[in-house]
């Protein structure tokens, strides 16, 4: 809250709670399924607003642990780094690379956490 105005994360969180406790229990099976989809979308959007920036930074940091030839420069954006690693993967330059595998496992887990 800031000056009495709820921010996007708080609004979404209240909307989720309203749906889960007040609306869902009274719905028929088909409508409940549709409303669960809405609830899921709100949850994911809220989590992304709250943690999406951190996830991008963490992804970049994880991928920077992977030593490659050529090595990216320190100012490389996440998109540029992914493109470079994608090309190396396709060329077979990162076959079985332990550091990359470790980084990808952590990134997948973090991404999964955002949607749970």
């Amino acid at each position: 809250m800031k000056g009495g105005e709820a921010d996007a994360v708080r609004l979404l969180s209240l909307a989720e709670k309203e749906i889960a406790t007040e609306i869902l229990p009274g719905l028929s099976a088909d409508a409940r399924y549709r409303m669960r989809l809405v609830l899921n979308a709100l949850k994911i959007a809220g989590a992304e607003l709250r943690d999406g920036g951190d996830l991008k930074a963490a992804t970049l940091a994880q991928l920077q642990t992977v030593e490659t030839t050529p090595q990216g420069d320190g100012a490389e954006t996440l998109g540029a780094m992914k493109l470079r690693l994608q090309a190396l993967l396709r060329q077979g330059e990162l076959d079985g690379n332990q550091a990359l595998h470790r980084a990808l496992v952590i990134i997948a887990e973090e991404r999964g956490r955002l949607i749970r």
Partner: protein
């Protein structure tokens, strides 16, 4: 499959008269009344309608329920046409596969405005959540897993060349490598930079087993695409992705963890043991399955489903379809699939490039 709206509210209502005339001729009857038409859930690409018919005269006089299948508003490019699907059903039925009997194909746009076909109604349900909640559905589940293995083997008994299946084209020399290239192209066209999927694709490229003779592959043979009642299996559904390919791709798709729903410990589609499914398959083919080759195709299955999920998500994001379900599919499934792919392809499981 649930019934949700009556004929009067349905999109079929304005075609009632032409449809009745078509059915009357098909049934060699004096007249057919279409009393009700209700959409059946479960098709994102096709529309399925349960039709309640009253047939006046002819060899089938009386009341009958049949299913009409036609294209939904938004199709998928890789999906077979309804006419091709009808032919595939006929070929599968002739090979002894348990399918809903294909009755009539109609390609005259004057009847419904688009091609459709009519098939017999199969009893039971295909809804995976009911499989989990109602353990008595499908009869003995080990027997069901075995039966599914037998049905899949019968599908794989259909081999090229087959003139009536000429629309499938030439069988690929190496289905796995062709699929890997296609998935990379899809990812590129989507602008999807997924390093975990790229990792999996590279592993599959390096570890592709030698491919055997091509057969007809269903390509969506999984729990959710067959129907069961209290006694057992009643029909294999959804033939829209059939092609010539490697039979092990269907085995891997069926057993992949992503299609076991709420029962991942039941490795045959979340309904039974892998041993029972394999046994059924081997009983018909006379060949036992190589677990390593199946494991390879399970990695391919997760890759394929991840790419499809991203494609479905893109259909919603691009504005092609305002579907929250599709948007969530593209968002929810890939991280879990990536995790499974990475688990199955850890560095110790890589061999050196040739």
């Amino acid at each position: 499959m649930g019934v949700t709206v009556a004929l009067a509210e349905s999109r079929l209502a304005r075609h009632k008269e032409t449809l009745e005339a078509f059915l009357a001729e098909a049934y060699r009857s004096e007249a057919v009344d279409l009393d009700d038409a209700a959409p059946l859930t479960g098709g994102a690409i096709q529309e399925n309608w349960l039709l309640d018919l009253r047939i006046h005269g002819g060899p089938d006089a009386g009341q009958k329920q049949v299913v009409l299948r036609t294209d939904a508003a938004s199709g998928v490019a890789v999906s077979r046409s309804r006419a091709e699907e009808f032919t595939l059903l006929q070929v599968a039925k002739a090979a002894g596969v348990l399918v809903p009997e294909p009755l009539w194909l109609c390609e005259d746009p004057a009847v419904l405005g688009k091609t459709f076909y009519v098939m017999a109604r199969a009893e039971g349900t295909a809804a995976p959540h009911r499989f989990t909640k109602e353990p008595d559905l499908g009869g003995d589940r080990e027997r069901l897993a075995e039966r599914l293995g037998m049905e899949l083997a019968k599908i794989h008994s259909i081999q090229p060349p087959r003139e009536e299946l000429s629309f499938l084209g030439e069988p690929p020399a190496h289905p796995a490598l062709v699929a890997i290239e296609r998935y990379r192209d899809y990812l590129d066209s989507l602008g999807a930079l997924s390093l975990a999927l790229e990792w999996g694709l590279r592993w599959c490229e390096l570890h592709a087993p030698p491919s055997g003779a091509a057969v007809l592959v269903h390509q969506d043979f999984r729990t959710g695409n067959y129907m069961i009642d209290r006694q057992g299996l009643t029909a294999i559904l959804d033939w829209e992705f059939c092609d010539w390919g490697d039979p092990m791709s269907d085995i891997g798709w069926f057993c992949a963890k992503c299609w076991r729903y709420a029962q991942p410990e039941l490795e045959a589609g979340g309904i039974g043991s892998r041993a029972a499914f394999y046994r059924g398959y081997a009983d018909v083919t006379g060949r036992s399955l190589d677990p390593q080759v199946v494991a390879y195709w399970e990695v391919m299955a997760h890759l394929r489903w991840a790419v499809i999920a991203l494609q479905q998500g893109e259909r919603a994001l691009s504005g092609e379809e305002d579907s929250l379900e599709l948007a969530l599919t593209g968002r929810i499934y890939p991280p879990g699939l990536e995790g499974e792919i990475l688990r199955c392809t850890e560095p110790a499981l890589w061999r050196a490039a040739p």
